[in-house]
Amino acid sequence: MLKIIIKKEFLSSVRDVRLQVSAAILLSLMITAVLVGKEGQRQIQKQREAAQSAMYDQWLNQGNKHPHSAAHFGQFAFKPKPILSFLDVGLDHYTGVSVFLEAHKQNEVLFSGAQDSNGMTRFGELTGALIFQLLLPLLIIFLAFNTFTKEREEGTLKMIHAQGLSMRTLLMGKVWGIYLMVLLLFIPIIFLAYLLLDRQSSSLDTEVTVKFLSLTGLYSLYFLLFVMMAVLISGFSKNSGFSLLTLLGIWIVACIILPKATTNFAGKLYPTPSQFEFRQAIKEKVKNGIDGHNPSDARLATLKQQVLDEYGVSTVEELPVNWGGIAMQAGEEYTDDVYDQEFSKIEQIFKQQNRLSEWMGFIDPYLAIRHLSMGLAGTDFNHHVLFARKAENYRRAFVKKMNKDMELNHKPGVAYADYNADKDMWAQVEPFEYHLPDTVSILRDQWRGMAALAFWLIILLIISVKYSNRISGL
């Protein structure tokens, strides 16, 4: 029975000229988004790889100098453009692409796309995510808003009712018929995207495929929710106008108003300090700590005494190691603590804001899929934090290496300018590399989004099963 209804729904949709036109527009938009997005991602990644490599070359070829000067010379870490980011750019535009890594200081990731863009960026880039999350649901609404009401208005529902078919079976048939039509638009595009990955990405591996399949599955579920909701609303609406208005209202609230309201509400509930306040707090704490560059620093004097006692000597000149190196590392570790505290505070605030948005997925499935999509594409806030942490760990490691070299090899009494390390020393610092987390850890982190989609599916299934027979056949 279901097969008969699915076939009819599918045929009716396929033969509807208005739907043919809107589907063709959407299809061309999707193809454009995928092709342009993939090319953009490839170029950006190429640029970042080239920049990362050039910066490392610069590091290696910085010439002979004191290791602490080399720590100040610093390095750059470039955030790789994830392979799947062509489907969802997520927060990439706002989170910056590179960070300068230097001694004493944890810099922020800078040069976000939004800094170089005009106000149009706020309207979003034409990406697969924009189409899948916003436009395809809109097409679903136009496909399904009158699926029941039109039949009721034209009297065909009465004919169906006369055949003894239950409204539940009819509803399910309509849901699957329209869903099939949606998948017919979605699957070829996603397949095309996969083919593009295969050809252009040298680093295509199982992990990317798993992420890609997860993304496909979750989007398919998201579309099913919209189809079910649209068909149910059509079933319980008195006429097509009311059904369309209700569905468009839901779309506007779910896809435009609620996400914005959630962001604003999260910002009010968990306010972030201004850039000035943030920097000022760090500056104050650093000022109160150990200053490796200041020999008259009181805390440094205490540390010096501890080191002298440890080695059983009375002056730093008698130490077998370079006191300056130890002082530098101590200062470094203190500032690291300060940065850890302040950055974790701000990270915690952003995390709380994100969590709130993720929980809101139980009210608005658009928010759920948005977080899941960004997460799997590698363009969400979590990835940014992971990259920043990885870059910071790298910074600390290479600065420590420089300080250790100073401590062990810069003999006491030798002037700062007279001790230089060379390329061999610089080469001991491995190039910066960042790898995206695996699918399991992403999905574990994004469990709220998946739970929200499952919750919506269950709710809609319950309504469909329990209340569909209340749909009037007349």
Partner: protein
């Protein structure tokens, strides 16, 4: 119980008895109740079990308006009962009650002895329905529409059978694969008949099916009904067309203000007498 047995099929002689004594030409094979006493199969034949469509003291009230007042009506296999009446007389309400589209306020509606309200699914299986404006899916062909509705009715129909049914219903062969949006009303009604035939239903309900049809199409339609009636289908049809009611119907009922005023056999009255009776009834409605 009886109808369950009926569905399972029965010996040929039962069918012969039925056809010979109760309903000549009927394809219905088992009219009686089956009992087994001391190893002998006995059949209990009763007049009541021949009633396919039955309304018992049927009333329907919409808000405060009494659309139907204690209607009693019976249609047996091979009968075509025509309900005549002015607009608002309760004809369509009667059909809607038989279809289970609305529930009675009082009384019972039975199809093959089963209460429509309590056995909605079962009774619909035994019914075919053609409304005044048979609305089909415009972007599907006649054949696709037939296959869809027949499939929903539980009788999946292949292309060859669908074509045969549609052409038998009077549709041109080339029209079968045309989209219904290009069909005239008459062609749509023919598709309706083909759907009813595909469903192989024992009962047919028609709500003013010939209104708006040209005389030729109306005549074609009447011929189709006659052939279905001859095959033992019980037909209840509402109409304004006195001539068609007299020509095609076996029984005629005249309704006014929700009441069935007259029930008569078509063979017992001439067209002129029917017209006079109808007009008198209508007038009495006006002056009532």
């Amino acid at each position: 119980m009886f109808f369950t047995a009926y569905e399972r099929g029965h010996p040929a002689f039962l069918s012969k008895i039925h056809q010979k004594y109760f309903c000549p030409g009927s394809r219905i094979s088992f009219p009686g109740k089956f009992i087994k006493i001391a190893g002998f199969r006995l059949i209990i034949l009763s007049k009541t079990i021949f009633i396919m469509l039955e309304a018992v003291r049927l009333s329907k009230t919409f808000d405060k308006h009494e659309a139907l007042k204690s209607l009693n009506l019976k249609v047996s296999p091979g009968e075509l009962f025509c309900l005549l009446g002015a607009n608002g007389a309760g004809k369509t309400t009667t059909i809607n009650l038989f279809m289970g589209f609305i529930e009675p306020t009082l009384g019972e509606v039975k199809i093959n002895g089963l209460d429509v309200t309590r056995h909605a699914k079962e009774t619909k299986k035994r019914l075919a329905y053609i409304p005044e404006n048979l609305n089909l899916y415009g972007n599907l062909t006649g054949m696709e529409n037939l296959q869809f509705f027949a499939g929903l009715g539980g009788t999946p129909t292949d292309k060859a059978t669908a074509t045969q049914l549609l052409t038998e219903a009077g549709l041109q062969k080339e029209a079968v694969i045309k989209r219904v949006s290009q069909y005239s009303k008459g062609m749509r009604q023919k598709v309706g008949i083909a759907i009813a035939k595909a469903k192989n239903a024992e009962n047919l309900l028609l709500d003013e099916p010939t209104s708006g049809l040209d005389p030729e199409a109306s005549n074609d339609f009447a011929q189709l009904l006659m052939s279905m009636r001859e095959n033992g289908v019980a037909i209840l049809m509402t109409t304004h067309d006195l001539f068609r009611a007299k020509a095609s119907g076996t029984h005629i009922g005249i309704m006014k203000s929700g009441e069935l005023i007259h029930t008569l056999k078509s063979s017992d009255i001439s067209l002129n007498e029917l017209e006079r009776l109808y007009l008198e009834t209508m007038k009495s409605t006006v002056y009532a």
